[in-house]
Symmetry: C2
Subunit: 281 residues, 2 copies
């Protein structure tokens, strides 16, 4: 059987991937959860038919969302990951020796279970004793946390379905309140190519919640437009305001993408991205 | 009719684009030449069924291949573009006020004619009096040029079909000989995601022809992997060895992507790209 998966990423545009085998397909309370095996990208996690991660290109996303904020903090000890049930972001966070505890707050147990079983290179770290898995809605969880975390990473789906409430002013204000002084939030902020509208709606809300809001960018081959953005927000720390090159070089050894020059280059935005996030040229 | 164009970019992976209308389809002596109209990217030029450029995302490629080398030279007067029959690279080169002459050496007149007719926002500049269009094989043309050009831009197809001879040691040595002292070549060097093998074969050949070989990268949504690379080669100039910020800022005004920070960030390579081009970490 010649089987192809196609994800339509914007009007009249999509990516298509040859499927070797469908390994897992369930409908949870929140979404459809699929694991497929492909020639081009290895095993892939799909939520509601959209690519979340794949064995071969997961490093693009996971290294960027974690190391850029983690290395902007002198000694992150307590980290919260909201979403990210595949475990890839947690794996990168645990590379930092200062980390004592990572809370993974994922709404859907089906995601964690499927990734544990079928994506062990990504989800394998979830058994680490420093990891506390909370199967809960991140919106409720964050509202209960005050002055708790050094780093919060919002590793969410798009602003529709279960991820929708993670793109509101109230949520961002609760994230800010959950951060310790000097804490940093990084949140995936969609594709500057395929999700211009979603991005341009998100940044004004972030600015209502945080005094410091910046953006970093990088390539992700299987995401819409092949090009992604993350918000960097803090009540205290500016991008590159703190940076320990020696610590970055240690992390670099185990990375496929990240290095200390990437830390600086990631915050350099093309003109059209500056316009979307309304950063002055 | 629900018409979709699909380009298979690597084993079992492709992009698919909804087509409003096929505007031009001819088989030239060298390749098939198509212009299609699409919702997502406007009009697109395809050669042998592969996306070359599109109205909506052409700026990613054309701004990068031209401004990075042009702004590494104090006063580029004479520029050669090999390939690039759509005119987009020539258009960007002509934004630099020092330029007196641009030779466009394109093997296939069908490409130039089709783009002039159907892609006027890209090819419109080809009537500029500073432009000298040579419908010739770039391999033959370059062999005749000695000490002629400040900048040479190799805006070629992939290393197969008519573009194949533009990826050889002999060709690169001829390019070096055609450059004036202090001259710079930039050449598209394929996708670090989808064309790892082609890239890793190209860089050793470049090093046989040029003492200075570097790499810069950027996103291109409609190219394989959404992520592209260019070689920066010279017998004299290192990347960022010369840079006039004021001149860069003037160019930035008319650009959708390029700005002076991009000039620096473009040379920052992820670890996996360094490995492909064998640049020491």
């Amino acid at each position: 059987m010649d089987l192809w998966f196609t994800e339509y990423q914007k009007d009249g545009f999509g990516i298509t991937i040859k499927v070797k085998e469908s390994l897992f397909h369930e409908v949870s309370e929140f979404q459809t959860v699929d694991i497929i095996d492909t020639e081009a990208f290895g095993r892939m996690l799909l939520l509601d038919g959209l690519v979340m991660t794949s064995e071969k290109d997961e490093f693009f996303y996971h290294e960027m969302i974690s190391h850029i904020p983690m290395l902007s903090h002198p000694a992150p000890k307590k980290v919260l990951v909201i979403g990210g049930g595949d475990g890839g972001t947690v794996r990168e966070v645990l590379k930092h020796s200062s980390v004592e505890k990572v809370v993974l707050c994922e709404i859907d147990s089906f995601v964690v279970d499927a990734c544990r079983r079928y994506l062990p290179t990504i989800a394998g770290v979830l058994d680490d004793p420093r990891v506390d898995i909370q199967i809960r809605d991140g919106i409720d969880y964050i509202a209960e946390q005050k002055d708790q975390f050094d780093i919060i990473l919002v590793d969410s789906t798009d602003p529709m379905g279960p991820g929708e409430g993670l793109f509101t002013e109230e949520f961002y204000k609760n994230v800010n309140a959950a951060l310790k002084q000097g804490g940093i939030m990084a949140a995936q902020s969609e594709s500057p190519v395929a999700n211009k509208r979603e991005m341009s709606l998100m940044y004004p809300l972030l600015r209502k919640a945080f005094p410091i809001v910046s953006t970093f960018v990088g390539p992700i081959p299987t995401y819409p437009g092949g090009y992604w953005s993350w918000a960097f927000c803090s009540n205290d720390v500016k991008p590159l305001g703190y940076f320990d090159e020696a610590r970055a070089n240690e992390i670099t050894i185990s990375c496929k993408l990240y290095n200390s020059d990437i830390q600086k280059a990631a915050f350099v935005l093309p003109n059209f991205v500056k316009e979307i996030v309304k950063e002055v040229h």
